[in-house]
């Protein structure tokens, strides 16, 4: 008799998997095959001895879809755990972006000034370009990119979101 909610929510999931060949294809194939959204996905080995990788996924959907996504992920054989960081309490999430801006004169100075405000670092510089490195929440990264657009934005490379629960407990 329960009426499912239709509101779209964004959730950050942390999925611990065996680092074996094909595991990422399984996860990505699950999302494309079932029509779920992936807003961001990062993956890297986090435990070399047990060969475990952590996949951090940002996805969106109705509460019922989010539950489905977690259950479907949990059902993949190489998946150890699926944790919903959005539901499970406070988390820290960050992404890193490298942003190339080309320009001279006033625009160049302005980009440097804004980078300073955002605590973005200059990691490469030529006479007419900078590469900035910015770390922060997705919102901050996006705000910075927006401000760089009129100042000669050339290229963006983003890592996607890495996230972890706050506090002393491990996942």
């Amino acid at each position: 008799m329960s009426m499912p909610s239709e509101t779209i929510e964004t959730h950050t999931l942390s999925v611990l998997v065996d680092n074996e060949s094909g595991v990422l294809a399984r996860v990505v194939g699950l999302f494309s095959g079932r029509g779920y959204n992936i807003e961001s996905l990062t993956v890297a080995e986090v435990d070399t001895r047990s060969r475990l990788s952590r996949i951090t996924l940002v996805t969106s959907g109705t509460p019922m879809i989010i539950e489905q996504i977690k259950a479907q992920l949990g059902r993949l054989v190489p998946v150890h755990t699926v944790r919903d960081l959005t539901v499970e309490g406070p988390m820290v999430s960050r992404e890193l972006a490298l942003i190339k801006v080309a320009g001279t004169g006033e625009r160049r100075v302005e980009s440097l000034r804004i980078a300073d405000i955002f605590r973005a670092r200059v990691v490469d510089s030529t006479n007419d370009s900078f590469v900035f490195e910015i770390v922060g929440k997705t919102g901050k990264v996006e705000a910075f990119i927006k401000l760089m657009e009129p100042l000669g934005l050339v290229d963006i490379s983003r890592t996607g979101v890495a996230a972890i629960a706050r506090g002393s407990e491990g996942l």
Binding site: M1, A25, Q68, A71, V77
Partner: protein, 587 residues
């Protein structure tokens, strides 16, 4: 002590026999020749040479569904594995445990577009429960043991093991089953949460219009689960309906059984689904063939859902009491709680619920008009049922009207006697599946209730049946149409029968003859019983061409996009407006 080394191909067979495999359905090719060579040199495992790899998988499915064991398939690389894909998808959709070994080009050739190379793990990733590519000989025996574990545990399904030829030829040390440790990640939950079970029982005890809705998960859980279900349902006195996949989990002739639910389910089952106040769903998955229009599905009921697969819960329908666990385990606990709490649903409420059901039953929704001029397909199945009900009979089907009529008119009293392609709806499933059943039950009567169009999708397997002396009976309800397609065209497309006529049919009697099987043709209702008796008596594969009324439609029917209380009961309901525009978009 150093263990004996052996070629990979030998390890494969050793692992299979340790896993209890007694028969493999397969087809050879270059990449798997080492395994065929090992097969030749042993006599523990039998090999059945099919005539198409799709049939090998369906045969393994039939074997698995009729025994509860894992079915085993062996095919070569490239076309062997791509041919198996339909069967694998079928097994995935119906949760059937199958291990399919596929050959692969040697590891150093992978990715080079080598002869008969296909990205088998890539192709089969979405159509298997899990798959493996064995790249190291040291992993080989463990992977095979693991494949069987994954295939049979939790919600069962097909598992592919892709075997490069160099791995099969290389020499290594076999790792026995008991030396492979517990699986690192895959540990399905068997016991249900006791709190949830107590809540469920409380809802059941307070129910005024309860209904059990059971599916293939009960059968997959095993004969003990079916027995527990039967006891529990009888203890509660509640009515029960079954999905297509669940037929036989509860005795079909029992007065508490309302028959099948869903698109071609009975009037009483569907109205009970719509009107019940507590629904106890056990091992079923709220499939769209069952629910009809979702927003009108059983609007007033509290829903309890028992399933071993957490992803089945709240997928299509939001449930109130989810219970994750194995059906047998959960039913055992439910029964205990029911007894301990001395649950007694209100008598007056139950009486009036059964009275309501009785009025629905009076509609006699499966009634059809018989004539003595032409064989009605429903009549043919009824006669088949009467002639075979008292022996050990296994029924498989193809896909179409005949499949629905088989579900409606053949009564299943026991689990594992009914194999049909439910989730995928694969024409061509039934005949090879029957072969697999017959391999597992050589003495039993195995009948494929077929449509003429479906039968032609895997009829090359007549040769397999003849070769292995499998006396499978193909009971072909020949209406000279893809009847189900014709029915939809009649109801949805103004009777424009586009490409649905079975033109240029073979003479099935001659066809049987040419393979060395036995053929029978019958078109007279008065001769039907005699023909069926002949079919049963002959200890050979039989093709029985039953010429049935080509115009007959399958009712009741809930058209796509309609609710359970909007059924079409017969041709008189099937007017032009029977199906809405929205419904037309659905399959």
């Amino acid at each position: 002590m150093s263990a004996e080394t052996m070629p990979g191909a030998k390890m494969v067979l050793k692992a299979l026999s340790e896993q209890g495999v007694d028969v493999i359905f397969g087809y050879p090719g270059g990449a798997v020749l080492p395994i065929y060579d090992e097969l030749f040199q042993q006599n523990q495992i039998r090999h059945v040479l099919v005539r198409h790899e799709q049939a090998a998988v369906h045969a393994a499915e039939g074997y698995a569904r009729s025994t509860g064991k894992v079915g085993c398939v062996l095919v070569t690389s490239g076309p062997g594995s791509t041919n198996a894909v339909t069967g694998l998808t079928d097994a995935l959709m119906d949760s059937i445990p199958v291990v399919c070994l596929t050959g692969q080009v040697a590891t150093h050739l992978i990715g080079n577009d080598a002869f008969q190379e296909a990205d088998t793990t890539g192709i089969t990733r979405p159509c298997t429960k899990h798959n493996y590519l064995v790249k190291r000989l040291d992993d080989l025996s463990r992977v095979i043991h693991e494949a069987f574990y994954v295939a049979r545990s939790g919600r069962p399904g097909p598992v592919v093991v892709d075997l490069p030829k160099d791995i099969l030829l290389g020499k290594g040390t076999y790792v026995p089953m008991n030396r492979v440790g517990k699986h690192r990640t895959y540990q399905p939950q068997m016991k249900g949460d006791l709190k949830a079970i107590e809540t469920a029982v409380a809802h059941m005890a307070a129910a005024r219009r309860p209904l059990f809705y059971v599916g293939g998960g009960v059968i997959n859980s095993g004969p003990a689960a079916c027995q527990l279900l039967t006891q529990f349902v009888r203890t509660t006195g509640f009515p029960l309906t079954s999905t297509l996949m669940g037929l036989g989990a509860y005795p079909g002739s029992d007065p508490q059984s309302l028959g099948m639910v869903g698109m071609h389910g009975t009037y009483e089952a569907n109205l009970a689904m719509h009107d019940c106040d507590v629904m106890i769903c056990i091992g079923a998955r709220f499939d769209d063939r069952v629910t009809g229009r979702l927003d009108a599905f059983s609007p007033g009921s509290t829903k309890i859902h028992v399933d071993i697969d957490p992803s089945s819960i709240n997928k299509n329908v939001a449930v109130d009491v989810p219970i994750i666990g194995d059906v047998a385990h959960v039913l055992e606990d439910m029964m205990k709680v029911w007894k301990a709490t001395q649950a007694r649903p209100e008598k007056a409420a139950m009486e009036s619920w059964w009275k309501q059901i009785a009025t629905w039953r009076k509609r006699d929704c499966l009634a059809y008009k018989t004539t003595d001029k032409i064989i009605k397909p429903q009549f043919a199945i009824q006669r088949l049922y009467e002639a075979t009900r008292d022996r050990e009979t296994y029924i498989t089907t193809e896909v179409g009207q005949h499949q629905m009529w088989a579900a409606q008119f053949y009564t299943f009293e026991h689990p594992n006697r009914w194999m049909t392609s439910g989730g995928l709806g694969t024409m061509g499933y039934g005949y090879p599946a029957a072969m697999g059943v017959q391999m597992a039950h050589p003495e039993a009567l195995v009948v494929d209730i077929a449509g003429e169009a479906s039968f032609m999708m895997n009829m090359q397997e007549i040769a397999t049946c003849v070769q292995y002396k499998l006396p499978v009976k193909a009971f072909i309800l020949n209406n000279e149409y893809m009847g189900m397609v014709r029915q939809w065209q009649e109801l949805l497309h103004g009777g424009r029968y586009s490409e649905s006529h079975s033109t240029a049919l073979p003479d099935f009697v001659k066809l049987a003859d040419s393979f060395g099987a036995h053929g029978i043709m019958v078109d007279d209702p008065a001769k039907l019983d005699e023909a069926i008796a002949e079919m049963i008596a002959i200890d050979k594969p039989v093709l029985m061409d039953v010429r049935v009324d080509p115009a007959e439609n399958c009712f009741p029917m809930i058209p796509s996009g309609r609710a359970h209380n909007e059924m079409l009961l017969g041709p008189e309901d099937a007017g032009d407006d029977a199906i809405s525009d929205d419904g037309r978009m659905l399959v």
